[in-house]
């Protein structure tokens, strides 16, 4: 069973990359990116999340089914967000 697990150095390297990404998040927030700021910040967050999922949660080595379940949860949240925003972003400005 342990043969399937990553080595300690893989975990350590992943942790280092995660910290680098955290620093990047802070640096990016100090730079004035305007409307792109949340996009970049969330993009970095997504990168962190993917690393945690693939390496720490062993999704890299998990069954196709487990990966499907993980993606399904995320996908369904996207459905909730997207169709809700489809309403909010297409409302005409109020008369007041």
């Amino acid at each position: 069973m342990a043969a399937h697990l990553p080595s300690r150095s893989v975990y350590r390297n992943t942790a280092i990359v995660l910290f680098v990404l955290l620093v990047a998040t802070m640096v990016v927030s100090a730079v004035r990116l305007g409307v792109f700021a949340p996009v970049v910040a969330l993009g970095i967050a997504l990168a962190k999340a993917i690393l945690v999922a693939l390496v720490f949660m062993h999704l890299n080595r998990a069954s196709r089914l487990a990966r499907l379940f993980a993606i399904a949860g995320l996908f369904w949240f996207v459905i909730l967000l997207a169709l809700t925003l489809a309403d909010y972003m297409t409302r005409s400005p109020s008369a007041s």
């Binding site: 369904w76 909730l80 169709l83 809700t84 489809a86 309403d87 297409t90």
Partner: protein, 546 residues
Amino acid sequence: MTTAGTLALPKPSYLAAGWSLRSWFLTLDHKRIAILYLASITAFFFVGGAAAVLMRLELATPESDLVTSGVYNRLFTIHGTIMVWFFLIPSIPAVLGNFLVPLMIGARDLAFPRLNLLSWYLFMLGGLLAVGAIIAGGVDTGWTFYTPYSTTYANSAVIPMAAGIFISGFSSILTGMNFIVTVHTMRAPGMTWFRLPLFIWSTYATSLIFVLATPVLAITLVLIGVERVWGVGIFDPSLGGDPVLFQHLFWFYSHPAVYIMVLPAMGVVSEIVPCFASNRIFGYRFIAFSSVAIAVLGFLVWGHHMFVAGLSLHASLVFALLSFLVAIPSAVKVFNWMVTLRNGTIRYRTPMLYALGFIGLFTIGGLTGLYLASLAVDLHVHDTYFVIAHFHYIMVGGAVMAYLGGIHFWWPKVTGRTYSEPWGIFSAILLFFGFNLTFFPQFVLGYLGMVRRVAEYPPEFQVLNVLSSAGASILGLAYLVPLVYLTRSLIRPPSVGSNPWNATGLEWGTPSPPTAHNFDEPPVVTGPPYEYENPQAVASQEAQNG
């Protein structure tokens, strides 16, 4: 079976494997848990039904003379919340699903028996809170809890009711988790996905909805509670909140919830029809895929409940189009059942009568859904009795009939006893008649403009209301009669063989009732399901050969 020379005592059935209260209330046997659910949801059905009786009595006259409007508001809220969350949603999955899923796939139990028992206790805890809310005076917000009325202005027991629904939601989630993992990992050797009974496909699709939709309801109920207790405005316009956001979150769950209620019913019908038509089901894969399609597409249409709430026109068009699409897989199923019947030799037994009733009434309900999905028509009939008739045709004419059909079909397997067939046929016909008399007039009422959730109405609507109330009394009777003869059937000891209906499926290979562990050894599946030999087909084949 036994080695030569030794005597093997037959194992006791799961019913006889322990008589103490402990053996029932701490059971890990999925079959006993199914029985626990059967008892509880039946009780809740009559609570919700009592509210309906009072409502229909009130509605026999145009004035609110039996109850005040305030009390009437509590009645329809109780009716909706109890019937939706404490009867319909658990009914087929938690009773028939819990009992049959392991048997149908050849397993000894579900993947997580302790979580299964926990799900029943959570259901009961939630139900207790809901009943407590009723005793504390009830809730008057409607089962939909629209804000800001439910969060700011309602003076009723919103929090206990919301808490009860919240807790029972976790019961649903655990059940869904259990079914999904069980079907993926515990199928018997040879039981490939396309050899699964269609009831399993439906239950699996339902479980996807349980797991993905219910958490959003849970967080929405938390937000109602926070807003109500804390006095902050998440959905309150006077505090910068948006009531439509509540509706988005609420309906994201509550629309798929209606598929939780109908998909298992379709699964039951897919089991009953081939058996009592002695015919292989037509288009197995289409029916299987349509179950998953309904589950997935059902998540994309929730906005059709909000066409008049302030949704943008763009979003309304998108939701309307998607709502039309979701009707297609349901229609596929109806066509396939019809073909199976057409080419079969039909036995008009009680389960089949309920299944036939389902097909007809669900079709009417489903078609009227298309009316509602059309923006222009919905503007006219939204919040009228047209909507009420639509969803009762599906939930009562459809889901409840299928539930009763399933109860009758598997009654011999679950209890080892047979019920009185003449009474069964009588009840099914009585129900069909009473149901239509109750709800068909409501389509007309809604189209003529009678709004829903009112105790008073214009006098010109009285005739149709009286017809509806008369129908309701017949409907009520049709529910009481099975309660009596099914209970009576339990007086005699078990006497039924393994397969009284000559049905296919692994559950029919076990004793009636099954032993605690279902199978001594895992059965091996070697062929497709529904291998029925249609006498009509056999006869015509023989005529051709001879």
